[in-house]
Amino acid sequence: MKQLTILSGKGGTGKTSITASFVVLAKNAVVVDCDVDAPDLHMLLHPEVIKTQEFIGSKVAVIDKAKCIECGFCRQTCNFDAITSDLKVDAIACEGCGVCAVACPAGAIALTQRISGNAYISKTKYGFMSHALLYPGESNSGKLVTLVRQNAKILAEKENQDLIIIDGSPGIGCPVIASITGVDAALVVTEPTLSGIHDLERVLKLLDHFNVAPFVCVNMYDVNTDNTNKILSFCRESGIDVVGIIPFSSEVTQAMVNGKTIVEYSPESSVAEEITTMWRKLYLSLKSSDS
């Protein structure tokens, strides 16, 4: 089984639009949306949920007001400023560590499990999809990413699918790390802006740190061809394959407004053609890698 993650570092470079197109082109791959706090992939793939699973991310402290002697010791010991001045738990700040429960001389504090979101297994026109939604403001997105990836793996095994396509989230922190551990390759979608280049370099270092094979795609390359050339020569020098160079096109936004991927909405467009070629290259190199 092969796993490919699509990343970007910088947000808004086109990860999700490209991932959704790959899913259409791949036919029958299992797709995973690892952006669990602001997921968008479902708006292009229209999954029908077949199974919902509650996600318990961490615990949360609960103060029993009847037992509380208002000594304020919990507030003093909490390292997350999660106990307010009127001795209530700020559930958003609480990381569920349990220090307050140990510190409380009256035994008034307990840790309870909290549901931080839902994980879903769904069916789309193109195969199965594993995704999730974190409740607004909740933490533990990394753990939820791990859960949706496990769900995808189980699905792929059960359905005899040999390919998992993973849409990552922006950044380089815990949810991103959770979306690349153990994958066969990652495609970094960048744009020819100074920020795009800066963020690409950081993501490539992250992939190197976790020993994941990198590929690069320059999206909207014609916004600044000088910068595109810089990216191309940087990748050449670093021995990284640039598998796609995609022009800017307002059709991508039009496709999104119509709830479709660009390869469905405008299959003849140069963007769709470039994505299709890129997918073929990626698929071939995934298939030929032996690990």
């Binding site: 669990v36 958003i92 560590c97 220090v99 922190g173």
Partner: protein, 278 residues
Amino acid sequence: MIVSIASGKGGTGKTSVAVNLALSVGNVQLLDCDVEEPNAHLLLHPDLQKTETVYSLIPLINEELCSHCGECSKFCQYNAIFATSEKILVFPELCHSCGGCALVCPKKAITWKKHRIGALKFGLAEGVELVYGELEIGKPMAVPVIKAVKKQIREGENVILDSPPGTSCPFVETVRGSDFCVLVTEPTPFGLHDLKIAVEVLRRIAVPFGVVVNRAGIGDKNVYEYCREENIRILLEIPYQRRIAELYSRGVPFSLEMPEWEEKFQTLYSEIRKSVSR
């Protein structure tokens, strides 16, 4: 006044709005809280003044005192300590620095040591004092670095915070305590979807907010409809213009090249101030 600039969806123009706002208002402190991928300095080109290392505190176990009872490991909610009868291991990347292990250790065998997780950088440019954080590559937890950036806030001054994308902990950590949050969105289905989630979070943590529509003219009209229905103020519209995109790509804040925007950002700031003091 502390104003944070956030978005939900990535790449909607948070940093561009934050930097253009800071330059137009002047005499401000700009804190880039997107410590995973900080970009404000790429538009501001500040003179770098100094760099500080950011540490988290992780347990240091004194093997001579440790009786291998395993209480620390049992207590830790994050599986950051692994204990057997002979061996004890700390996993720094999993530790949240809650301090619980030291509290429960019956032998008082646990103290703290510093663990490097990132850096703080300080710079100056055109009346803007920039502080930005950089999470070290491979370190999972952005929040402690964001906290370190926010510690530099000078109360009572004009402070602008550039938030990371998303709506989970790094975003919440950034916008908590702001007097106002500007949500930058684009008029597309993705922009609207993520805006709605960000709005829910801000309502939950009671931070007042308004919307800036960037790349106005692309996509559809649903963002406007949503804002009208929800009674959310649209503070500013920035049209989609090739010139703005091209300036951004070269690291030039567009208000410097298109001076008519300086006044628009100043008006945006005074509108926010009015709404905060109300």
